[in-house]
Symmetry: C2
Subunit: 211 residues, 2 copies
DNA sequence: TAGATTGTTAATCGATTAACAATC
DNA sequence: TAGATTGTTAATCGATTAACAATC
């Protein structure tokens, strides 16, 4: 399976969508699907789907299409969902609490096992059985505990410092909810959830269609 | 200013980023900036920045660059931030509450003026002075009150129904936090915040860089 | 076998980058 | 004026779509 190299971002960003639609098809007990049918569901061209999937392997069968269950398993493996992930969340404010409480992630093998905040009022509180710790303890916790993913939900001005600290603690992937572009070394991956940018895009589109 | 047509999504998605960086430059009291300097800050090529901006007008001056304040004003206007927006949020669970509480939006002229939920325990509670109303009242509230943007924070299975209801009530833009792709008529714009997809992308990148 | 649908190559389309004359 | 930097056209690069032989 060494096809795996130099996959474009465009393709990568579509993988989770395939995953979601295949999960749904499985739930509806659909056994097979052609690229044409899947394309109609998902809103892609059949051609694009075949191109995308062929970046990773030959999952289909001529004259038949794709076996839903098998393809789902394959995509899950490609995404890396065949193992679990431990995350540490920093910043237990509005968004931090929402993310901590979001149960949908657990099906994906994703677990938040540590939560940090600087606010004394929050420290000691529990979110889904995980106690909020003092951010000063983060360094030592990261040392004794292997964390895959850091989640940054702190105010903008603290985000970079927290990122640096997470990286020093061995974190290789950062899910960033703060409205900044973090500066990180090459071996660290960042995925941003920039809510304001998303909202501004929507506002632009709203006005565009009205004018 | 009728250059405004047929702007590609790639460009539109970059506009909020320009807005953010220009805001920061203004705060730092920078008067002028060249496409080269801005590019270095923001991580785009100078060429791309000039191309992007020229979709909307001639904002620069040869030999000088761009006036930060003026460009910021222009980008704000392009994004539609020269007026205010009223939003209705549906689903006051984890994410709904986080979004309701997110104060950063108010600087953008964006205000959540109505919140709905189906849960009797939540109805009557207040979030930032806005009372959570019974979702059954939504139809009448939308009738008497002009709402620009609907925010969907309900569970997946209810999202499409809520979207339909918002659209019937005259909403033209939907900010969707539910993990579904909504089906809407052409004149309605949807911007998705798909947290699971974002997380899966990050997990993929994490594994890619490790292998 | 015949029909369907894949994997893959080639053609097209769109977005990014480079180059440079215009000009402040 | 000379240097700097734009706006814009042309070249390149990459992503999407179309086409079709291979084959289940």
């Amino acid at each position: 399976m060494e096809k795996h190299k130099n996959i474009s971002m465009a393709v990568i960003k579509r993988l989770p969508k395939y995953h979601r639609y295949l999960e749904e098809l499985m739930k509806n007990e659909v056994d097979r699907i052609s690229s044409k049918e899947l394309g109609e569901k998902i809103g892609f061209t059949a051609s694009q789907i075949r191109q995308d999937l062929n970046c990773f392997g030959d999952f289909g069968q001529q004259g038949y299409g794709y076996n839903v269950k098998e393809l789902y398993t394959q995509i899950s493996a490609i995404l890396g969902l065949d193992r679990g992930y431990e995350a540490a969340l920093v910043g237990a404010g509005n968004i931090g609490q929402a993310v901590s409480n979001y149960s949908r992630f657990e099906n994906l093998g994703f677990k938040i096992t540590a939560i940090f905040d600087a606010n004394p009022k929050l420290i000691g509180m529990k979110i889904r059985d995980v106690e909020i710790m003092d951010i000063d303890e983060m360094e030592s916790v990261l040392e004794e505990h292997k964390i895959d993913i850091g989640i940054i939900c702190v105010p903008r001005k603290n985000a970079q410092v927290v990122a640096d600290e997470l990286i020093r603690g061995g974190v290789r992937a950062i899910w960033n909810f703060a409205p900044v572009d973090l500066v990180v070394p090459d071996h660290v991956k960042v995925e941003n959830v920039h809510l304001s940018e998303s909202l501004l895009t929507l506002i632009y589109l709203l006005n565009e269609s009205e004018s």
